[in-house]
Structure formats: C-alpha cells, structure tokens
Amino acid sequence: MNIKKHIAIIAGGALFGFGLAYSGAAVPEIVLSFLRLEDFGLVLVIGAALVVTLVTYQLTPKLIPKPILNGTFTTPSRLPISKWNVIGAVVFGAGWGISGICPGTSFAAIGMGNWPILIGIAGMFIGAYVYGTLRNKGLTGIE
C-alpha cells in the first residue's frame, strides 16, 4: 500500500479518534454511565456516526467508480448470521460492561493521556491471542 493511502488512513483515523475524545465515548466512565442507564449520550454518538457512515457507504460507490486513491470500495460481506455473532457479542458485552472500554475508544484514550487504559489494551491483545490459539486448536468461527 502506498504512502498516500497510509496518510489518508492516519488523517481519517485522527478525525475518528478526535470525535471519540470530543464526544466522551473514549472516557470509560461516560460509557459506563450509559450502560448503567444514567446518561443516554452514547446513543447520540453512535447514532450520529452511524447516520453519516450509512450515507457515505451507501452513496459513494454509486457516485464515483473507485476510491480517490484507487483500490476498490469494500462491499458488504453478507455473511450469514452465525451463532458466534451472538456468543462473541455476549463475551464482549460482559467485558464492556465491566470496564467501559472497547477497541477504538481505547486507542483514542491513550492519546488523551489516559495511561491506565494501556492495561486494557494489553488485555485485548491477550484476548485476541487466546481466541486465535483456540482457533488453531480447532474451534470453529466466523473468519
């Protein structure tokens, strides 16, 4: 992949991360206040982000033939619903409910100087390693 694409991804990722920080979604205490049904702000964050992304994903491939820096537009995979979508989401939901952290927000949190989140990121890498090891030992799954 050429350097221009990496720069575009870093720039888009920075806007993504700044938005997570500005919205409060990158602060685990604010996520937990939503999950405890004390402040419904996170619904607005996900809702606003989803509406913008929905318009982009649905319209862009109809308006331009290929991405500005070349390549192809990722299209929906339309994978059938798997039991792992539910089981994995239950396990993730449990971790999310305990800690208030998720992958995207954790990296934005590091930028905000929230160093204790590094422990959570270490946990995520360990969790992904455990899952990959289970797959190597024969567990079935989506990917």
Binding site: A14, G71, G93, G97, G111, M112, P116, I121, G127
Partner: protein, 155 residues
C-alpha cells in the same frame, strides 16, 4: 431531556458526527472499512512464523499495516483533543486495573469471536446493512447494560 442527558447533547452529537466523517474519509479515499478490533489479531501475525496459523490468514496479512496506521490516527486524534481542547490536561480514569485488565481480555476474545466491535459492527457493519452486525450490536448493547448494572450493585 435533562434527566436523559445530564451533560447536555452537544458534545455527543458533534463528536459522533466527527467519528462518522473520519470513517467516511477513510472509505472515500481508500475504500477501506474502519473496524478496529481486527488489529488485535492481525498484529499478532508479525510474531507468528507458522504459515498454517490462524493469525497468518490472508485477510490479516493483507490488512495488518494499514490497520496500524488507523490505530496511529486514533491515538493522534486523542492527542489533538488533549492539546487543543483540554489545554494539555490528561483525562485519567480511576477504574481499577483489575477491571480494565479482565474487561480487556473479554473484549479481546469477544470482539474477535464476533468478528467486530462497536466500530466494526456498531457503526461500519450496520452502515453496510449487514444482518450479522445488527444482531451483534443488539446483543452486546443488551449484555453490556445488564453486566454494568450488576457490576455497579456488586462492586
């Protein structure tokens, strides 16, 4: 409204719009979808030599470098907030290390098992109108609420 949104709605709506614009920018420029949790699997491929390993599947090898760029961008965005909005003052959580560590492990296992997290399923997958993303999102929101309420009453 006040009871539903004690901190107001401005920061949530503006922040959410910016998140959507960032994800949109990546898609319009490169065609790539900004799910974050795959990074945790694809990055392990740098350390895995066994060509038959799950970590070295083609989709992880092919995406591992740009996924790290996305993570660099996310951290940079947080840093811009720290410098330009928060006057250099770090936002530091007071949650216990135990909760962050064990919560993180469950997040790592669960997001990889479900092949997506709030960015991959919750925003990008739902925006692709993927049924599997809609199911995953409803599930993790429900379980997250139940577990957070239980955790609050126990801890």
């Amino acid at each position: 409204m006040e009871s539903l949104f004690p901190l107001g709605i401005g920061q949530y709506l503006i922040g959410g719009l910016l998140v959507g614009l960032g994800i949109s920018f990546v898609y319009i420029m490169t065609g790539l979808v900004s799910g974050v949790s795959t990074t945790f699997t694809s990055t392990w491929s740098f350390l895995s030599r066994d060509t038959t390993s799950f970590f070295r599947r083609e989709k992880f090898l092919n995406s591992r470098t740009w996924r790290l760029s996305l993570v660099v961008g996310l951290m940079l965005g947080g840093l811009m907030y720290l410098i330009f909005i928060n006057g250099g003052e770090a936002t530091i959580s007071s949650l216990s290390m135990t909760r962050l560590f064990f919560g993180g492990i469950l997040v790592g296992i669960g997001t990889r098992m479900a092949a997506g997290c709030p960015s991959g399923h919750g925003i990008c997958g739902n925006a692709m109108l993927e049924k599997s993303s809609i199911i995953s999102t409803i599930t993790f929101l429900s379980v997250g609420i139940v577990v957070a309420l239980l955790t609050q009453s126990i801890l």
